[in-house]
Symmetry: C2
Subunit: 205 residues, 2 copies
Amino acid sequence: MEFSSKLLERAVNEMSQLPGIGKRTALRLVLHLLGQPESQSLELADALKTLRSEINFCKKCHNISDHAICEICSNPHRTEEIICVVEDIRDVMAIENTSSFRGLYHVLGGKISPMDGIGPNDLNIESLVEKVKAGNVKELIFALGSTMEGDTTNFYIYRQIQDYDVVTSTIARGISVGNELEYTDEITLGRSIINRIPFVASLKS
Amino acid sequence: MEFSSKLLERAVNEMSQLPGIGKRTALRLVLHLLGQPESQSLELADALKTLRSEINFCKKCHNISDHAICEICSNPHRTEEIICVVEDIRDVMAIENTSSFRGLYHVLGGKISPMDGIGPNDLNIESLVEKVKAGNVKELIFALGSTMEGDTTNFYIYRQIQDYDVVTSTIARGISVGNELEYTDEITLGRSIINRIPFVASLKS
């Protein structure tokens, strides 16, 4: 792509570094900004700059937060005894939307993935183990995606804390509520038969 | 969507103002930036800010340019006698890529579209008519997209300049090179039969 303007070329190149945004899409986005009032571009630029330079992570759960301790960790109505282990802020937001969980979170910041060069030391695992060692935690819920990397990470953490007095669980995998059996993949259906739950228990949720 | 951070929320909101980018995609992009070195976010922010505040438009053809007169208009090897009328810089880039055109461009900046509140005065039409009146232009090539708005804009300009001594043409519509007839839509195929060209002429291109 040849540009008539170095300024335009630079903006398109920077924009196309974002995942899923190619050169053509980047050009479309940048031209859209040029067609809008100047304030919109400046607001976007400032929001990105401020975010990156002023962003904080909660000292307890490592979630993105504007304060040293995030709103969830500082909420007195939530119990410190149950910790849900998640990958990033999107998982926190998804679980919070269900209003089904009153414990705290621990955001790992990723999953162990040797292929991507992400080892245990790149994630917030040590501080989680410290929490368990301190003895206040009664249950850890693993809520990572059920991929090879997720399972590896779960198992790595489990090995670190298995000698302590803490219950570990993973969120239930099974058929989505409202889904037909015939459209469910075999692995999910197979697991949901193996991990069946008492009928009376299923009535409660 | 509820955010644990106002900074994050602001960045996501600004990002999701871009066309085709919803809240979820915006969040994905912003989280990606947070995972990258700080310099990448700052570079992107600065590129957008600089683009918007320092952008120039060529005084002759209204294309985006870093100089008062763009490289195409100031190229002595191109003829001023043929002007190709296009909507925006993407069309200029597309035509330049073909290396088939040695005239100049005139960038309208859009198409007449009453539905979107875009009238003739919102576009760079007056300066085009002035160029024709000045008498140096021998041919105008209309290269707008063949939509209702494109046709309206072509016709509006044609009415303004029909009394002057200038040839008007539009780029050829027809079956794409290499395409099968059976997969071509009826309108394009119908037009390509009506606007057929002498076989000998087709051998030259």
